[in-house]
Symmetry: D2
Subunit: 144 residues, 4 copies
Amino acid sequence: MTSQISAEQFRQILHDGMPSGAAMPFEVVSLESGLAVLKLTTGPADLRPGGTVSGPTLFGFADLAMYAAVMTVVGYEPMAVTTDATVHFLRRPLAGAKLARARLLKQGQRLMVGDVAIAPEGQEDAPVAHFVMTYSVPPRKTNP
Amino acid sequence: MTSQISAEQFRQILHDGMPSGAAMPFEVVSLESGLAVLKLTTGPADLRPGGTVSGPTLFGFADLAMYAAVMTVVGYEPMAVTTDATVHFLRRPLAGAKLARARLLKQGQRLMVGDVAIAPEGQEDAPVAHFVMTYSVPPRKTNP
Amino acid sequence: MTSQISAEQFRQILHDGMPSGAAMPFEVVSLESGLAVLKLTTGPADLRPGGTVSGPTLFGFADLAMYAAVMTVVGYEPMAVTTDATVHFLRRPLAGAKLARARLLKQGQRLMVGDVAIAPEGQEDAPVAHFVMTYSVPPRKTNP
Amino acid sequence: MTSQISAEQFRQILHDGMPSGAAMPFEVVSLESGLAVLKLTTGPADLRPGGTVSGPTLFGFADLAMYAAVMTVVGYEPMAVTTDATVHFLRRPLAGAKLARARLLKQGQRLMVGDVAIAPEGQEDAPVAHFVMTYSVPPRKTNP
């Protein structure tokens, strides 16, 4: 199935629904129904000692990718909000481009659950962080 | 028991170990062994639509408070790192001063587990977010 | 505020809503609005090598206590279901009576979030396991 | 890479390290390095009202599959223990055979992180529960 939003529409939704995400230096790699892949180029301000990307930056990036994955199913819905998130940090997240791959595991009427893997570009089999997240979405009027 | 670090020392550790935390506009309210309370004054840049504090900001603040709680036990140890974190968002986090209360549940040789409640100042019984976090600490040479 | 159910009513709800819980050898220690304390006497069948209580047994006991805490607020509602749970195992759970203290952190119309600490009786400051759980409850007709 | 244990060896390890798992009516479907697939046939005793499989049963089954995945990498190590687990219940787990697919995301010297999807046999794209788990393993003497 195809995504209910385009990359252009996703950027517009961010302005309405998640400005902290809109401010991130990211690109949309792909959007399919229930699946979103984004790319982030981290800079010096995101680094901790030893040159690693900070946890809050990874959290924000994962949240952004999950938000995109939800929008691929529900379309324009800026009021979707995170209700819970679990992250495991797996490897030292060195500076450099990162891909976030967000995939929905459940598409409920109210609750969407998905996981997000963040990995260095070209090393998708060695993720630096893994998230599981739930989004709550307002009741939908039309059949999605 | 008393804390192994003072508020001044904690700010110094942040410069060495968590610059993203050092940049946050926070105050140390109290430090005891296994317990840290910090206060954050959020500003417009941290807000989402509807005037709520962003998830990554809350995550960063909780991580900072947990880092402080770990330091109250192990002392100066900038190399402590978060291995996992689970957050539940409980209420709309409106703008205004927030308190984070981080409490250690387990003080292991390698792994420290704690929870962190973030609440508006004066409304500690109505937290906006609740975290459980694990920190990994390097082996300690001396008996803590 | 007082609990919306008594210990007797809770046992009845279990028969209707959670038979696996009804089969556990537990006592209700106390029920208040948003807070439930249960006591479990574990037996040999629940033990792993080294004499520790198994993870699934602790999970089932925590789920039971959280279910009770939800019922203290919503009253008779066997259709409440767990949507997510996070557990951290903190210490070796040796055989012997255990207390589970479940406390609601959020009492929403649809979602209830709480944490549960399981500790040996008399050592409540040294929990063996800590849970955060979300329960989904059907919409309520009357004001609770 | 090939698994460090066979299905026969895994059953032996369970007797030494996880008797609650040994008692489950399961089959080993496949073992590869970092990946274990198990099959469970649930019976009436595992069901909640409405004919759904109980949460503790799913938890125990996921724990068993993750234990197997850890053993595929470290070989015989009955002292591996779960340190944290997060579960999201995704769909009603009706009675019938279930597959658990456990996959390691991180293979550290001390900590192993993996996720486990439990789905009805033949409907692997519609999981009923999703877990993320960490296992702590004793230091290994030989290079794995």
